[in-house]
């Protein structure tokens, strides 16, 4: 049994894998660019305008402005998570792309690191697409909201790492539905996204802060878009950094265990 937390030896060749995914993404841009645009608009209209017309303000903030950072954070989570679960699983299992890649000077560590970097990049691309839409509706404040771009990369790395761990232990592609429906969907609702965390019972608040990664991402994102900075950003960032490192390292080691026999 190999240790989960052995520091993997990753080389610059990981970017080759990243580049391969980027080329495919750009070539199929028409199926990749519109979903995040439409998703942003759907949330804005359905929840922002719909519920927003009853809930005018939360803590003195217009409701649409309250949920705008959540829309961004959920996009970061979904794009990285689904890319590195279903997307990576298809490339690993059905297309055997990883097998083809490790027959070249690329190592399995390079391949998985490249996939995770790509998942994070996808989060960044989606945030870059959504920012102008949200700005056009005047629900986020520039220029501080531009900080959402580097944050998307960090948050993307975290969710890509978590996703890759699930991919590494999932016996089949169908079992990836468990984390998607039992982890990602509830998280999108209970992480201080569409209503403040403080409405939850105190124990659940602590639980959300302890185990739901999205909670921290939404908190920082909200500081950037309102803007309303607070010293607690240090805690949120530290939590995300620690979780990102742990899961990315574990993901690479779990994948190695799965694929190198």
């Amino acid at each position: 049994m190999q240790p989960f937390f052995l520091i993997p030896r990753i080389t610059r060749r990981a970017w080759k894998v990243w580049h391969r995914n980027l080329v495919v993404f750009v070539r199929t841009w028409h199926v990749n660019f519109f979903p995040p645009l439409i998703e942003a608009l759907l949330y804005l209209f359905a929840i922002g305008m719909g519920i927003g017309s009853y809930v005018k303000e939360i803590d003195g903030i217009p409701y649409v402005n309250f949920i705008a950072p959540a829309i961004l954070a959920i996009a970061v989570m979904n794009s990285a998570f689904f890319e590195c679960t279903y997307g990576s699983y298809v490339r690993m299992y059905y297309q055997k792309s990883f097998d083809a890649m490790i027959a070249t000077p690329l190592s399995i560590e390079d391949v998985i690191a490249g996939e995770i970097l790509w998942g994070a990049t996808r989060s960044v691309i989606y945030v870059i697409i959504m920012l102008p839409v949200l700005a056009a509706f005047g629900v986020i404040s520039l220029p501080s909201a531009l900080l959402a771009v580097p944050l998307a990369f960090l948050g993307g790395l975290m969710f890509a790492g978590i996703a890759m761990c699930f991919t590494a232990i999932s016996p089949g592609i169908d079992t990836l539905n468990y984390p998607s429906f039992l982890f990602i969907t509830p998280m999108a609702l209970f992480s201080g996204t569409f209503f403040p965390l403080t409405l939850l019972p105190l124990t659940l608040q602590y639980l959300a802060l302890a185990v739901l990664p999205l909670t921290h991402l939404v908190a920082i994102m909200r500081m950037f878009t309102l803007p309303a900075f607070s010293w607690t950003i240090v805690l949120n960032l530290s939590w995300i950094l620690a979780v990102t490192v742990i899961f990315c390292v574990a993901a690479i080691n779990l994948m190695r265990r799965r694929l190198i026999i």
Binding site: R13, R20, K96, A100, A103
Partner: protein
Amino acid sequence: MPISVIIEARDLIKTYNGVTAVDGISFAVKRGEVFGFLGPNGAGKTTTMKMIACVSPRTAGSLHVFGMDPDEKPKEIKQQLGVVPQETNLDPDFTSYGNLYTYSRYFDIPVDAADKKAEELLEFVQLQEKRDVTVEKLSGGMKRRLILARALVNNPALLILDEPTIGLDPQARHLIWEKLRLLQAQGNTIVLTTHYLDEAARLCDRLVIMDNGKILVEGAPADLVKQYVGHEIVEVEKSDEVILCLSTMKIPFEVTGDTVQIATESSREIARTLLDRCQPGTVLTRPATLEDVFLKLTGRTLRE
């Protein structure tokens, strides 16, 4: 001075999930030769290929490829390897050209050189017309040719082919064979596994027959046939009379299905004896082949 032994394995062992897939094999592959691994399913051929290709670490024993240890210098070894896997793993998100170009980039081949090499290789495997077709639209034979081309993007010093012509029609097989001979003539070292014994007999300078993780025999195809079977085989329709007759004359034979086979140096003599004394049904004489050696050594039981 270039090393003359490309692969050297000593007491190589691979165990996983409690199964010993490769059980202490030793062999050496010399520069410029075509070396074959034959054996029934589960004999350990593919596992051996994977260890040579640095994608599966060995359990014990020593292994050197280009004089380097796969555990220590996988990148340096893989830089000079071309691998044709048993399973088609072309990238379905790319065209034929795109597959070759993208793969070149994994080897750090500069953009211009990668482009030039991709065009050159498409011509080599006669797929220029399918240059811009997604690989999903290629036939089985075309896919195998493209995989062969992909294995050549880095001008490998050693080609590893795991069942290169599996599932192909005779035309496609002949084309692959022709390309492999051309590559050998250019001085490439080739290691291959195959189930097709005619393929092994045609292509291999030397080969080993494996079973249950061990090497049973090693040698040149013609020598193995001579040594283990003889020159010719006489096949007679099976009947009690023939079996009794051969037994009383103490001629060694083997019963397979509905025929009786007799390996011999002189088929004429045996055939005459049979016709004179045994009232045989159909009698057929043919040269002995590698298949006879294979079946003799590995038995006729079905493997899964």
